[in-house]
């Protein structure tokens, strides 16, 4: 599903060049649930951003579902993001003046799907995350866990190939975190590929594979026995 070869990325900070990713070789099969771990500055978010086409790689190759991601301009990136990727952010990133349903429908809007279809699809995914009763509520009327579940529904709505979650539980307490992880596990069980960036050990252990980054290189990459979140809820 994801194929990354010899990926380098550096940032210019003033006169100095900060080499963030120093030759990453990394691939993800369809249906995997991978945790990317590492301390801050290890390059894990940069890696996720490059996979999410929010950032451009300096050298190396990146292939997503057989499509080489090259010559990425903003318009092309936007279209790929819309079709291939679903984002889940630490700070939820819901649009505050739109209802839960409208937020879920947003990626479908950019897919130029008709209003009716958008609404029925969004409603379906809200039901999936157990928030169909909250469809007409604005984000500030929802709890943190509910917001993240709306965000997950939004990420799923476009039916992407890969879900990218950047510290999805970073702003939640542990009970809610486990609920969210349970939801992600359930989605993964249905076959969706999920990448989770986290620095929390217990969250990482709920994935099927842990990739450890340090100073821009992968120091450890192993498959683990997934801990089911349902046992902790």
């Amino acid at each position: 599903m994801i194929e990354i070869k010899n990926l380098h990325k550096s940032y210019k900070i003033g006169k100095n060049e900060l080499h963030v990713l120093k030759g990453i070789n990394f691939s993800v099969e369809s249906g995997e649930m991978v945790a990317i771990m590492g301390s801050s500055g290890s390059g894990k978010s940069t890696l996720l951003n490059i996979i999410g086409m929010l950032d451009i790689l300096d050298s190396g190759t990146y292939t997503l579902d057989g499509v080489p991601i090259v010559e990425l301009n903003e318009t092309k990136a936007a279209k790929y993001r819309n079709r291939f990727l679903g984002f889940i952010f630490q700070s939820f990133n819901l649009i505050s003046y739109k209802t839960a349903l409208e937020n879920v429908a947003l990626p479908l809007y950019y897919q130029k799907i008709s209003r009716k279809e958008r609404e029925s699809k969004s409603m379906h995914y809200l039901e999936k995350v157990g928030l169909s009763n909250w469809a007409a509520h604005l984000p500030n009327e929802l709890s943190g866990g509910q917001k993240q579940r709306v965000a997950i529904a939004r990420a799923l709505a476009a039916e992407p190939k890969v879900l990218l979650a950047d510290e999805p539980t970073g702003a939640l307490d542990s009970k809610t975190s486990y609920e969210v992880m349970q939801l992600l596990q359930q989605i993964n069980d249905e076959g969706k590929t999920i990448l989770v960036v986290t620095h929390e050990e217990d969250i990482a252990k709920m994935c099927k594979r842990i990739v450890n980054l340090k100073d821009g290189v992968i120091i450890n990459d192993e498959k683990i026995n997934q801990k089911r979140a349902i046992d902790y809820v």
Partner: protein, 419 residues
């Protein structure tokens, strides 16, 4: 994109998000177009008003009278009074081909001297009396009320004792329901039959609503005027330069009366064409001024919209970042902000036009019965309005480009990081 219902839903939800700010922004442009509409409407009203006032008198007409010489010539000393004579008329007709109509006029009571006493039974009053030829109406229109007429050629040849009286004269000398036509009034103790009543029109000049017109020939007998002429009313052909004709007429008269060619004081004249041109120039200037002021005010308003959108884009950095992460292309983001800008501009423009039109209609209603102020039918031509709308669309687009560019210049990843 422009015709998708969803686009408009998005735009509507984003502009109604901050209602107070949107309203104030809208008022900025609304005010601009309002000023533009009312000012150019008012200028047009003034223009129409002037036109109405000048309509009564042939635009290419002039009045010529004599004064005292100021330059010695051919043995004559200065300070000699010049008297126009009837024979000057034929000379002028002969020598100045551009003259279409020429009407010698005499008057009693206008330029010095007492107005004659007019009697009818026990009622009496003082009114100015003019000795006129029928041709005078070709130069300055006289509306005669139904049932009456103006002086005609037969009146002149037979020196008939007939008169045309003014509205005020009628009101003061006759009873309300009395028909004055065919009745007799006495002018300086001579009886005249009333043949018409003229409707008074404010047209500037010295004439008023009490004036009485009698045949030139009758006037001459009545006041022993001989061949003397008080002044000349002249209308030139439409396609000639009245100023030129004025010069020619003066030269002929100077030659006739032995006046020095360089004597500017001996013959006085008043050129309506010149005055009309001045007034027209003035109202043209006013129209231009109102256009400039209006467009400048619209521009200020549109810049206000650009400014507000810039702030709004800044506030929405994160939201726009989210949208772009979810698949909004830069083109879509840019397009939405430009449409927002144009939409706000147009909406406020349309409201401004409506408001301006209402104010103009109100002013028109209020000044309908005012005849002494030149203001009629204030309108703004449709091309002006369409032009203003076009300008607003263009400026709205251009000004919208700035916040739109700003919105897409921020990378979605940076926008998302913003807290």
């Amino acid at each position: 994109m422009l015709f998708r219902r969803d686009t408009w839903t998005e735009i509507f939800s984003s502009i109604t998000k901050n209602k107070a700010r949107t309203t104030i922004t809208v008022i900025g442009v609304l005010w601009g177009i309002f000023i533009y509409i009312t000012l150019s409407g008012a200028a047009k009203g003034l223009d129409n008003g002037f036109e109405r006032q000048f309509k009564r008198v042939a635009m290419n007409s002039m009045f010529v009278w004599t004064q005292q010489t100021s330059v010695p010539y051919k043995g004559y000393k200065t300070g000699r009074s010049i008297q126009l004579k009837l024979k000057d008329i034929s000379k002028l007709k002969q020598q100045v081909a551009e003259i279409q109509y020429i009407a010698p006029r005499n008057a009693k009571g206008v330029f010095g001297g007492e107005s004659p006493i007019i009697n009818r039974g026990l009622r009496h009053g003082n009114y100015n009396v003019y000795g006129d030829f029928p041709v005078v109406v070709k130069i300055a229109t006289k509306d005669i009320y139904d049932g009456g007429r103006f002086i005609n050629e037969a009146d002149i040849t037979e020196s008939r004792k007939v008169c045309v009286i003014g509205e005020r004269t009628q009101n003061e000398l006759f009873l309300k329901k009395e028909n004055p036509i065919g009745k007799f009034i006495s002018i300086d103790k001579i009886f005249f039959q009333v043949v018409g009543v003229h409707k008074f029109q404010q047209g500037g000049g010295f004439e008023d609503d009490g004036d009485i017109y009698i045949p030139f020939t009758t006037f001459r007998k009545l006041y022993n005027a001989g061949d003397n002429v008080g002044w000349l009313a002249i209308a030139a052909y439409n396609n000639v330069d009245v100023m030129e004709v004025e010069k020619k007429v003066k030269n002929v008269l100077k030659e006739q009366h032995n006046i020095a060619p360089d004597d500017d004081r001996a013959i006085g004249s008043f050129n309506l064409g010149e005055i009309f041109n001045k007034v027209q120039g003035f109202s043209k200037g006013l129209t231009l001024l109102s256009m400039i002021v209006g467009i400048a005010t619209i521009l200020a308003g549109v810049i206000g919209i650009g400014n507000i959108l810039l702030i709004s884009v800044r506030e929405r950095t994160k939201e726009l970042g989210i949208r772009r992460a979810l698949g909004a292309t830069p083109g879509e983001v840019r397009g939405q902000i430009i449409i927002e800008s144009v939409f706000l501009t147009l909406i406020s423009g349309i409201f401004g036009i409506i408001l301006g039109a209402l104010v103009l209609a109100g002013v028109n209603e209020g000044t309908k019965d005012v005849t002494d102020f030149p203001y009629t039918n204030p309108t703004v031509p449709i091309p002006f309005i369409l032009g203003a709308l076009l300008i607003m669309i263009v400026m709205g687009t251009l000004i919208g480009l700035i916040p739109a560019q700003r919105a897409v210049s921020i990378k979605p990843i940076d926008a998302l990081r913003e807290e």
